[in-house]
């Protein structure tokens, strides 16, 4: 009972603190804006721990966070092997191949409005389909090891990147294109100096969507057959053994890997598309934007 009451009290205190913080003038500082969600996250963990321990929830239904942390620490080498198999070999390889293929396709069909009008509706349609369903077919074709997972990821990331890149290549406005024409820039010069940079915000939008799809594809493909290593394999076998602390540890690894991957892409995006309005303002109010400087 003391666990339940304690965690409830902690929750109430943290929530009151958050309300105070949110209403206070401290919110102008970056640290406070980060502190509020962090406090909320910690509260969830404490509440989880307290309720599971206090109510005596069996660990085969929901293990407490401390047990998950122990599983994380105790099986570090196993988790690392799974991570390398699924994320580095399956997801990253497939992501690189799929995204570059989609980008190349978009540049290739760029010169043909006919192909664009034909491919875009189909690409948009494919992006909405449950593509994970092709996982069993590709596992049959490419075997149980990582190439089949990479193949699933290739197909999953292809269409979002394609659709976004084609939309991006149309983003440069007519005035800028006319300027390129008056400078007698050729097709490739205009593409390289104007239209590809102008397409980058769209391309990165596609790349960010694809980054989350990649890990999902690699994990789900392992549910259809895999060697005895890999995050999806570990999740399905440990669920079968009811070792849920290990499953949660694997999910924690997947969550950290997924957010880190997304964060990395977002970081590159910020360096590449620093000129875009959506990226302005993050540089702090003190600095002037490039257009105003001069």
């Amino acid at each position: 009972m003391i666990w339940v009451l304690g965690s409830m009290l902690f929750w109430a205190a943290a929530w009151a603190l958050n309300i105070r913080l949110a209403a206070s003038r401290l919110m102008r500082h970056r640290a406070a804006r980060l502190a509020v969600p962090a406090i909320f996250g910690v509260t969830i963990l404490v509440l989880w721990e307290g309720l599971v321990r206090g109510l005596g929830v069996p660990p085969v239904i929901l293990p407490p966070p401390t047990a998950i942390a122990a599983a994380l620490a105790g099986n570090a080498s196993l988790l690392w092997a799974d991570f390398v198999q699924t994320f580095v070999r399956g997801a990253l390889a497939g992501y690189a191949i799929g995204c570059s293929a989609a980008f190349a396709t978009a540049v290739l069909i760029d010169r043909s409005p006919f192909l664009q009008r034909g491919l875009l509706p189909i690409g948009g349609f494919m992006a909405a389909l449950p593509i994970v369903g092709i996982a069993p077919i590709l596992v049959m074709w490419f075997g149980f090891d990582w190439p089949s997972k990479a193949a699933v990821v290739v197909v999953m990331v292809f269409f979002p990147v394609l659709v976004n890149t084609v939309a991006g290549l149309a983003a440069a406005d007519p005035m800028q294109r006319d300027l390129m024409a008056t400078w007698s820039a050729g097709y490739w010069q205009a593409l390289w100096h104007l239209r590809l940079p102008a397409a980058m915000p769209f391309v990165f939008n596609g790349l960010k969507i694809a980054s989350t799809l990649a890990l999902i594809g690699a994990i789900v493909a392992e549910f259809f057959g895999s060697p005895t290593v890999g995050m999806g394999f570990r999740i399905s076998t440990e669920v079968g053994r009811l070792a849920l602390d290990m499953v949660w540890a694997e999910i924690a690894v997947a969550a950290v890997a997924g957010s880190a991957f997304y964060g990395l892409i977002a970081l590159i995006e910020r360096r590449v598309t620093f000129w875009h309005p959506s990226q302005q303002g993050r540089y702090g109010a003190g600095r002037r934007s490039p257009q105003q400087g001069g």
Binding site: L21, A22, L115, R117, S211, T212, I235, I251
Partner: protein, 287 residues
């Protein structure tokens, strides 16, 4: 309609490529069989043989179409072999989950817009959760709920709900915030309370955002239902058809289930798109 001809051309090219790939991928098996029987096969014999295999590496489009037709009409819809039956199992979990997820998402978005502490605490997590491969927890949810005695539709619907929840939250928060300061000030001068502002300004303004996120959510919800069917040991549903097909090497069955799922996704997204057009036209927002 301007796009009809290019789309049909591209589809035609895909069909031709598909047939070519089917011949190319299935030919080794035909040659192998003929080699074992000690016969020589000519190309004219190989091509039809690649289209009529029991378990081809890549079934030809007409084989998939025939299997789907058989699945839809070959037996009563309650039969275990009927694709209508399996499709319905998946669809009902999808719709239940989508309803729960979208409803909760809208409620949470309203809470976030009205409570600054909630906005600051929950919103970063809602956005961060989009980057996490949530589908990985599907097997665990199924097994845990099974051990609690909850079986059937609900565990799959919970996964669907979870997947459709976050797109709706993020989209609705954006939508409920879309009225500009001028409009909000106007309502304040009318003496409108928060409830009236919500009902008369924020909710109508959020409708375009709502439909955009509902389309994403329903597609995600279908994926959730299909993946949710995998760990239950292939009992019923399109995901179970995929899994049992992959166990027994029934490639035609896998492709038929895959295309049924695609049809279902297209129908669901199309339905929401239609509702969007009707609603926005009546609201005068459709361009």
């Amino acid at each position: 309609m301007r796009n009809l001809r290019p789309v049909l051309t591209v589809l035609g090219v895909i069909f031709v490529l598909w047939y070519a790939a089917a011949v190319w991928l299935n030919a080794p098996w035909v040659r192998d069989q003929a080699g074992r029987a000690g016969q020589a096969v000519s190309l004219a014999e190989i091509v039809p043989a690649t289209m009529a295999q029991e378990r081809p590496v890549l079934p030809a489009p007409h084989q998939v179409a025939a299997e789907m037709w058989k699945g839809f009409t070959g037996q009563p819809v309650t039969s275990k072999r009927s694709l209508v039956y399996h499709g319905w199992v998946t669809l009902s979990a999808t719709l239940l989950g989508f309803g729960i997820g979208a409803g909760m998402g809208i409620l949470l978005a309203i809470g976030i817009v009205h409570n600054r502490a909630m906005d600051l605490s929950v919103m970063p997590w809602a956005i961060a959760s989009q980057t996490i491969p949530i589908l990985a927890i599907a097997p665990m949810i199924i097994v845990v709920l099974n051990s609690l005695g909850v079986t059937g539709l609900l565990p799959k619907a919970i996964i669907s709900a979870y997947l459709s929840f976050f797109p709706v939250v993020v989209g609705m928060v954006k939508g409920l915030r879309s009225p500009d300061a001028m409009q909000l000030d106007l309502l304040r001068t009318y003496g409108a309370g928060p409830g009236q502002t919500l009902w008369k300004l924020r909710l109508p303004a959020s409708v375009p955002y709502l439909f955009a996120s509902l389309k994403v959510a329903v597609a995600a919800s279908l994926v959730g239902a299909i993946v949710g069917e995998l760990p239950t040991g292939a009992v019923a549903g399109l995901g179970a058809r995929l899994l049992s097909g992959s166990y027994y090497g029934q490639t035609v069955q896998i492709w038929a289930a895959l295309f049924t799922a695609a049809l279902l996704a297209a129908a669901l997204v199309g339905l929401i798109g239609g509702a969007e057009r009707l609603t926005l036209r009546r609201m005068g927002l459709w361009r």
